[in-house]
């Protein structure tokens, strides 16, 4: 009985899409300077990291990562890291890997810089937490392709735009887990600190943050993983690094090339994951 004849659902009754397009255009025209200001610190950090990592002779990052893996976890992870990085170098993906590493590091630094304070605030203030929760949900679930175009319009293409997209995607876990970590601290401990005359700041610094640290590090680990998973998508808006061989390989139906890029991403992900996880468990 009910059919498309009655209710023309394929016709939008609210022109939301037009409104959004108009709003973005208006932002691009009127607030270009604001977005350049937002972009600047990310750009500076990213460029410094990229230039720095690429300027190093290839064996230095290998040694550093191997030692880091050894300290954080043990011989097995150190051996694995050494082998994986040597393989990446032999595959001719060294520069791309360093670029990706720089992008991941830059996004994680900004995610931690924004996410931990916001998470702390949310952990201590339930109203604020309720307010930001839908925003976090949107950041995590909105398909990246939806905000890639506005990002390009606002920040143009390239590595920096890629990092900005990555920050949006990878920020929620560290906020959520910081918030969780702060709220998991036993109320008696906070009460005890207050009873002995601790100020709000001392409660935060001496009790809540140290006790929330393992959870915050777990959040950092998740953020790193999500940042790595954005690498390929960021390559769609002209970001370099390991995403480009994958995107290029797909566009030219060069499966082998895409697979090699994918392999390097996986190896990098495994190493970063194990290292940060071992740190969190300590």
């Amino acid at each position: 009985m009910l059919s498309g004849d009655f209710i023309p659902l394929d016709e939008s009754m609210i022109p939301l899409s037009e409104w959004i397009s108009d709003a973005i255009n208006w932002l691009v025209i009127n607030f270009r300077d604001v977005f350049q200001v937002i972009k600047a610190p990310v750009e500076v950090t990213l460029n410094a990291l990229t230039t720095g990592l690429n300027a190093l002779p290839f064996y230095i990052p290998i040694i550093v990562i191997t030692l880091l893996a050894w300290r954080a976890s043990g011989k097995r992870l150190a051996a694995f890291s050494f082998a994986a990085f040597t393989l990446i170098a032999c595959l001719g993906l060294w520069e791309a890997t360093m670029t990706t590493l720089a992008m991941v590091l830059a996004s994680v630094m900004f995610c931690a810089g924004i996410g931990i304070p916001v998470g702390v605030l949310a952990g201590r203030n339930p109203m604020f937490e309720t307010a930001i929760r839908p925003v976090l949900d949107a950041m995590q679930t909105t398909p990246a392709f939806v905000y890639l175009v506005p990002i390009v319009m606002l920040f143009s293409i390239g590595n920096t735009a890629g990092v900005l997209a990555t920050i949006i995607f990878a920020l929620p876990p560290i906020i959520r887990l910081t918030c969780l970590g702060i709220r998991q601290v036993h109320p008696e401990l906070i009460e005890a600190a207050q009873a002995f005359g601790a100020s709000e700041f001392q409660v935060l610094w001496q009790v809540q943050l140290p006790l929330a640290l393992p959870t915050i590090l777990a959040g950092l680990n998740q953020t790193i993983m999500m940042a790595l998973s954005m690498v390929v998508i960021a390559a769609l808006i002209g970001a370099g690094g390991l995403g480009s061989p994958v995107v290029l390989g797909l566009n030219t139906l060069d499966t082998g090339r895409a697979a090699v890029g994918g392999l390097a991403i996986v190896l990098l992900a495994v190493i970063l994951d194990r290292i940060t996880q071992s740190m969190a468990n300590k």
Binding site: E188, E191, A195, F196, A198, P210
Partner: protein
């Protein structure tokens, strides 16, 4: 011990949980019950019109069942919970009126707290935990470690400084909690069910420890407990809370003798009264006494004793000081042996012990048992008040309820 200086004065303290708590005051004034008010407004009365005074140097136990508001009450003393009305005056200064900074200073230096759940920082060592309050007070590391070590030594935990709290047993963890509270050298310690989470043996051990510490350095301690035995054991005075109201304040003895209501009475039902009742409660003045002015007269005393149907006579000075005790037997011996020069004092029984008015029954048992005659009881000035005989003592031990009843009735009458 002089407990008379007022240390903490709590006046008309109220805590009402919920928003717009003022609505509850009007209803309370109209005499509505706690349940009534909850039904009408959704507000919970935590503490209602609590007033009491804690004297300097005493252990003041606040006792009640869970939910009676005792934990809320103690948290209002250092404003971990803000009272809705009333005042808490410590050394003449109203804590409820303190600014935030004053309150922080007060918590840093005057009042520390021991928690039921120990509330030790799991990320810090035993030493760091003990020095926690000192660190907050801005004391440099060397000095605070020294003071923390001292405090740990006081509670018998020297050598454990670098352990983590999770390596310690419950009793040891609470010793750290106690050391943390002692380290800041407060004049007042709040102890919120501090020993309730420990098993009975350890609990008793900690109570003794606390009493020992109290002997070395007398602090004012406000101790929250739901355990009457604990209250009787350590408390100088006890406040009993019921549904947020302080229903009675007094020494164990006073409360036992005249409980304010059935709730209080039921609390004391299982208690062994011989640990609380004192000689004052069972002393009897049912033996003959004779006031002696000039050396006394043996035949007259013999005559007096024989008419009284008792075996012992207590000889007193005119101002009621005890001179000695004679028995029918001792009088006869003296009269027969040396009738010419005999004086009444020759007939005095040897090794007659005496008891004070405030001696607890459990403590006097050996005295009563070994005495040659019913034991005379003297008050603080040394005046004779009566005697306690073996048979009376045994009867009390056998059926202590009877004496409590008779004492209570005497108070009601």
């Amino acid at each position: 011990m002089d407990f008379q200086k007022e240390k903490v004065v709590v006046k008309n303290l109220y805590k009402i949980f919920g928003s717009k708590s003022n609505r509850a005051f009007a209803l309370l004034e109209q005499g509505h019950s706690k349940e009534d008010i909850y039904q009408k407004t959704g507000l919970t009365i935590g503490v209602q019109d609590a007033s009491f005074t804690v004297h300097e140097g005493e252990i003041f136990v606040v006792m009640g069942l869970s939910g009676s508001g005792k934990s809320t009450l103690v948290r209002m003393l250092n404003r971990l919970i803000e009272p809705n009305a009333g005042s808490v005056i410590v050394d003449g200064k109203d804590v409820t009126q303190m600014s935030h900074d004053e309150l922080v200073q007060f918590r840093l230096h005057n009042m520390s707290m021991v928690f039921q759940s120990f509330a030790l920082m799991p990320h810090q060592t035993v030493l760091e935990n003990t020095a926690f309050g000192l660190k907050l007070a801005g004391i440099d590391e060397e000095q605070r470690n020294r003071r923390a070590k001292e405090a740990l030594k006081q509670v018998g935990l020297d050598g454990w400084e670098n352990a983590s709290p999770s390596q310690l047993s419950g009793g040891m963890q609470q010793r750290v909690g106690l050391a943390r509270a002692l380290a800041v050298d407060p004049d007042i310690m709040l102890m919120d069910e501090a020993f309730s989470a420990l098993d009975p043996l350890i609990r008793a051990e900690m109570q003794d420890e606390l009493l020992k510490l109290q002997q070395q350095h007398q602090r004012t301690i406000i101790f929250i407990s739901h355990d009457l035995d604990e209250a009787l054991r350590i408390g100088d005075r006890i406040a009993i809370m019921q549904d947020g109201v302080v229903v009675q304040v007094g020494t164990a003895d006073e409360i036992l003798r005249s409980p304010a209501n059935d709730y209080v009475r039921s609390f004391f039902k299982g208690v062994d009264p011989t640990g609380i009742l004192t000689t004052r409660d069972i002393v009897r003045n049912n033996h003959p006494t004779l006031i002696i002015t000039k050396g006394g007269n043996i035949p007259a005393t013999q005559e007096y004793l024989s008419t009284s149907d008792r075996d012992y006579c207590y000889l007193l000075t005119p101002d009621k000081k005890l001179l000695g005790v004679v028995s029918t037997e001792s009088l006869r011996e003296v009269a027969e042996l040396a009738s010419a020069t005999a004086r009444l004092s020759d007939a005095y029984l040897q090794d007659v012990p005496t008891l004070g008015l405030h001696d607890v029954l459990t403590d006097i048992q050996p005295v009563v048992a070994s005495s040659p005659c019913p034991v005379p009881v003297l008050d603080d000035e040394g005046n004779f008040k009566g005697v306690i005989s073996k048979s009376r003592f045994l009867r009390i031990l056998h059926k202590p309820e009877r004496i409590i009843h008779s004492v209570q009735e005497a108070h009601y009458a």
